[in-house]
């Protein structure tokens, strides 16, 4: 027997009936006056109202809360042709129904709904509404949110910066600590936003390391500097671990960054100290090398003629003096006056010989020394000379300097020797019991500087003045005023070698005024 031919209407009816029975959602329809025209099996079950009880009655009678909650408007919108979506998030539910299942999170069934116009041949003839039970979904979501909240609390409590990123490395979560440290506004660290507070020198490295990790799925580990609220950079170490799915593909990154600034600063300080030590060691080596060079120079000097001669000539002279003195000291009681006198004479002669030798050597040195002229601070030189010779200091003498003393072009050693000799003379040639008073001053004479050494000594006659600078020339007898007679010759020779001149003005009993003339040093 052939089944009867179906019309599309019959087919639709069949579908409708089964939909009514089987649909896992609530479906109801109304007419244009919002009277219920159908009520499916699901609704019967969950509302405890059978279709016969509700069909034909106004919607707002069956569900009064719709009017109270002003949801009737949506049905009116639908009558005008609009489709309305009611999300659970914004409404909670459409039809008040008890919550299914054992979960007590919600006391009412959570629902989402759609209200649409019901069209018959293009004309709106009523509304159709579908209600979905989303309680289970919401429970799950609630659990998920709780878990997220716990994670957030934990993430915001730990002292580290905690972050998560999608598989492509874009950060989708950073905890509060990051914002506390960087001072950035909330959410600004997401995506690649966190890079803006990384030190520019570290940022490039970070990006490269990041790309590597994403490519290979390796743990990301890096030290970099983050700019804090005060604009200072602090060192952090950041590590991120990949989280994989069942197919071993990376689906997420989970990372933490820790402040290691103090540790890093110490490390860097240590490294710097190490470097300093190494450089210091290097400098020490240099110093030793320098000293060795100086030593060699000294040895050369030691081996120079005048030095050797000075040493070797004066040693035996010293010996003579020494032995004579020993005899004088040790045998004092055993010696008669004559013997004592003789020994004293020996000692004195030796002393004189020593002085002569020394002065002759000085003269030689002055003659042979390589002379390079330089700008000399005369004040300093005079000071040094007097400092080294007790006879030129109080209480033995009184040397006054009229400042300033012009700087001159001279050879320091030669000029020092000259001044020393002139001062020695000035101090020596005074009347007995007279305190030597010497004035040192300088003046500009044309384009030369004249350095005057003026004393309150015994002075000298006119005739002897021109000869006084000759070698072995003496103004006075040796027994009156001991001296080698070479001192002034040295001065003259030294001054000559420096391209200058010297002279004296003197009157017996009125002191002497010795002068040295040299080129002035150019102004700085």
């Amino acid at each position: 027997m052939n089944p009867p031919e179906q019309t599309s209407e019959q087919l639709n009816n069949a579908i409708l009936v089964w939909t009514h029975e089987l649909a896992p959602h609530g479906i109801f329809t109304t007419d244009k006056e919002l009277r219920i025209t159908s009520w499916n099996h699901w609704l019967e079950r969950h509302s405890s109202m059978r279709a016969e009880q509700v069909v034909g009655r106004p919607l707002i009678d069956i569900i009064p809360s719709l009017a109270e909650r002003r949801l009737v408007e949506y049905f009116n919108d639908a009558l005008r042709g609009e489709v309305r979506v009611l999300s659970r998030a914004l409404h909670g539910y459409l039809l008040p129904m008890p919550s299914s299942g054992s979960d007590t999170t919600f006391d009412r069934m959570q629902q989402s709904a759609r209200i649409a116009p019901l069209l018959l041949e293009g004309q709106v003839c009523g509304t159709i509404t579908i209600v979905e039970d989303v309680t289970e979904r919401e429970c799950q979501n609630s659990i998920l949110r709780e878990s997220e909240e716990r994670f957030r609390v934990m993430a915001d409590t730990v002292p580290n910066i905690i972050y998560t990123a999608a598989s492509n490395g874009q950060v989708d979560f950073i905890n509060q600590r990051f914002y506390d440290v960087s001072g950035l506004p909330p959410r600004s660290g997401l995506g690649s936003g966190w890079l803006q507070v990384i030190h520019p020198d570290d940022a490039e490295r970070a990006i490269i390391a990041l790309e590597q990790s994403i490519k290979n799925g390796n743990v990301f580990a890096m030290e970099f500097r983050i700019k804090d609220k005060a604009g200072q950079f602090r060192w952090f170490i950041s590590r991120a671990w990949p989280i994989r799915d069942a197919d071993n593909r990376v689906v997420k990154w989970f990372g933490a960054a820790t402040d290691i600034h103090d540790l890093k600063v110490t490390q860097l300080a240590l490294a710097s100290v190490q470097a300093q030590l190494e450089s210091h060691a290097g400098r020490l080596e240099d110093t030793v090398a320098e000293r060795t060079a100086k030593l060699r120079e000294t040895i050369r000097h030691l081996e120079s003629f005048s030095y050797t001669v000075a040493h070797d000539l004066r040693a035996p002279i010293r010996a003579m003096q020494g032995y004579a003195n020993i005899l004088l000291e040790d045998l004092a009681e055993n010696l008669d006056e004559k013997s004592t006198t003789i020994l004293k004479n020996i000692s004195r002669a030796a002393k004189h010989l020593d002085a002569l030798t020394r002065d002759v050597l000085n003269y030689t040195r002055v003659s042979t020394q390589e002379v390079q002229l330089q700008s000399v601070n005369v004040e300093e030189l005079v000071h040094n000379v007097t400092a080294m010779n007790p006879a030129l200091q109080a209480p033995h003498s009184n040397i006054g300097i009229v400042r300033p003393l012009h700087r001159v072009m001279a050879h320091p050693t030669l000029l020092a020797q000259s001044i020393s000799n002139l001062l020695d003379n000035a101090v020596k040639f005074v009347a007995p019991d007279v305190m030597p008073r010497i004035v040192v001053r300088s003046e500009l004479c044309g384009d030369a500087v004249r350095l005057w050494i003026e004393d309150n000594g015994i002075g000298m006659e006119q005739e002897i003045q021109p000869k006084i600078f000759g070698i072995f020339e003496r103004a006075r007898a040796a027994d009156e005023y001991p001296g080698t007679g070479i001192g002034l010759a040295i001065v003259a020779r030294a001054v000559e070698r420096m391209g200058g001149a010297c002279g004296v003005e003197s009157e017996p009993g009125k002191g002497s005024r010795f002068w040295i003339q040299l080129r002035p040093a150019p102004e700085d």
Partner: protein, 137 residues
Amino acid sequence: MSRTGTPLNVLLVEDLEDDRFFFQHAFERAGVNARLFIAKDGVEALDYLQNKDHFADAHQFPRPDIIFLDLKMPRRNGFEVLQWMQERSLLAAIKVIILSGSDEPTDMELCRKLGAADYIIKPIDTKRIEQLLKTDP
């Protein structure tokens, strides 16, 4: 450092016989509680300090508490001895007094730089030796 009772060890480094004589003379006259040891030039000085060769017996030639060092000597001069000692921390602590015929300021300066404690121009007298050795350590 020597405690009162223990004699000081004094090392004289001097190449000239006369100068050695004068030092010893003054030393004896000073009558201080010290023993005098002699090195005749720079090389002997180094040997003494290392207890090498002739000076191998450390008992006979003990470490000096104070050294009187001449500058101008053959083989190794006083400057070289000073520098050598400075490079060895244990020896750098020994007090060195330069005893030289030279009154050159450059010599004095260099000796000071090389760590000499004092610089005396020859000859040294009894009084000075007394001063130096009695106040030591």
